[in-house]
Symmetry: C2
Subunit: 334 residues, 2 copies
């Protein structure tokens, strides 16, 4: 009984909170800290969006009780909405429009197997790519990917055939030799929220497919490229200072034309910028700088640990069979 | 008018969604993908918690309308709650207990200036720490930090004086020389959610303060340590496989006794695992392996780019004055 009373007192405390000002937002604005007072003493309140329930029935209930739904737009089979989480859809006496939207909702309809695969739980694994595994297993995979014409969209952009309007900055087409590059907004950037700035830099040269191709001889090219990217970025977005720009690359990348991610330093991104997937551009430069051996030595000789999804071809065709072999068991047939 | 009708049709579409099963959760369960159907065709629905409003009035309203508040516990000035976002606190006719909690709420009362500083907006900057800046500015800062007795809690744990119950695994105290280490759960891990597993590994040796102290001569120590940590982790948590374990270190770290973060590979963490703050343990090993020079060469000679908050001492006392000097302006007086 005592604990129940304590609980009530604590809830009353919360009800007495008087807001003074918002201190900060965190985690992509999913958490907010507010300073205020209770009975003339300072109090700090932190509100945080809670995880969704893992009970399917509760998720069903949430969907049934979506309130104040607003359609933001559609494109083909894709629909975007915002909504509130609680109820009263059916109660016409309640004006739900006054409640802020606390959910984003996407609908894909009708959807395909590809969509289902994309949104299915991707169990990640950490793999160990030795120089031998790279040469014998991963490089042939990369060559196959490139032969699938997966890079045509990039050639089109580099040659100025498509997405011309999307290009934020580019050196004169074909004039700068190895130093030629262009900047595009990443698909995930809304192009207006400053702290979510996310650009992709594509060099014009086509002989570097991933960080595995970077050698000591590319050091001065990398340094000039980095400087050019930094200058082009802060010139294009003059509200941005050079020490607010973060650059990194992915390994494995999504496609095998070397590209650099450029983001605002305050950006909160989860997996895309995490150890095991991303490496800072400056760290790569330093690794090459202090690497022993001649100008032909490079990242190729290192053993790289990185994350892959169990649904990926790299896992299923390269690393899972290697793991099964090491464990002395047959890999599952695919 | 046409667009309004389209909007209505789209909302009706959403209302017809029939849930089949949950496909996946993402972003620490703040996003959920559900497969279902509408009129016997497959449909995929993605629900995502929306960012909080940036309008102070809307935040006030959210606080005023907290519903179904439940106290989870208190400790001194700290209070934890869960709550719903919408209203009816005052309407005794509505049973709000049926609505799931979609907010986590923390209250600190009364709070101090330290709390306010901690939760104030931390504007991050990327700094360039050359070997010279490290030796002349950062190392003296680190020495000052160590002289402030900030490591006593670590000595106590290492010597078995405190937090004995929290230690998950340790080698026999003082018996393993440089190979001695212990594993603790990170404060942010609830110790039950598998995918949020987060451990800290503390070596017993006290001569390595950060990655800046790691040299080629430490390679075999690092490799043995890594293997021991991996084995201790999967032995302690037998639901975990070795290729689901990610290890990384921070630079700058929070305290200057070398320590390694061990997390589940599926864990979504924002800044703590991001480029500019975290480096994979295996990458450090490879950097040292391929570094030119003798056994005394190490990370000390590299230029490191990393993120610091503008409120940090490192920014205010080291990097901001350097930036101001480079810009030819006087740094603000502090």
């Amino acid at each position: 009984m005592a604990s129940k009373n304590v609980g009530l007192q604590e809830i009353q405390l919360l009800q007495c909170f008087q807001q003074d000002r918002i201190l900060s937002y965190d985690n992509n604005q999913l958490r907010v800290a507010i300073i205020g007072h209770i009975n003339s003493m300072s109090a700090l309140l932190i509100l945080e969006r809670a995880p969704f329930s893992t009970y399917p029935d509760q998720i069903s209930q949430t969907i049934r009780k979506l309130s104040n739904v607003k359609s933001l737009g559609t494109n083909d089979i894709y629909y975007w909405y915002v909504a509130g989480t609680s109820s009263y859809l059916d109660d016409i006496n309640v004006d739900t429009s006054q409640y802020p939207h606390d959910l984003k909702v996407n609908l894909i309809y009708p959807c395909t197997e590809q969509h289902i695969k994309k949104y299915s739980r991707q169990v990640p694994r950490i793999v160990v790519e030795t120089p031998e595994i790279y040469r014998e297993k991963v490089l042939p995979y990369i060559i196959r990917q490139r032969e699938l014409d997966t890079l045509i969209w990039i050639w089109n952009i580099i040659e100025g055939k498509t997405e011309v309007n999307d290009v934020i900055f580019r050196t004169p087409i074909g004039q700068e030799a190895d130093e030629g590059f262009l900047l595009l907004p990443d698909l995930n950037w809304d192009r207006s929220t400053k702290e979510n700035l996310h650009l992709l830099a594509l060099p014009e040269r086509r002989d570097i497919w991933s960080i595995r191709d970077l050698k000591k001889k590319h050091l001065s090219w990398l340094r000039i490229m980095r400087q050019n990217l930094l200058e082009a970025t802060v010139r294009t977005y003059n509200w941005l200072e050079a020490d607010q720009v973060k650059m990194y690359v992915h390994y494995q990348p999504t496609y095998y034309h070397f590209h650099i991610h450029i983001v605002h330093v305050a950006m909160d991104v989860g997996k895309t910028m995490a150890v095991g997937k991303a490496i800072g551009l400056e760290l790569i430069i330093e690794i090459l700088e202090f690497m022993n051996g001649d100008q032909e030595q490079g990242i190729e000789q290192m053993t790289l640990h990185y994350t892959v999804g169990e649904a990926s071809e790299l896992w299923q065709k390269v690393f899972e069979p290697l793991k099964a072999k090491a464990d002395g068991i047959d890999p599952p047939l695919r």
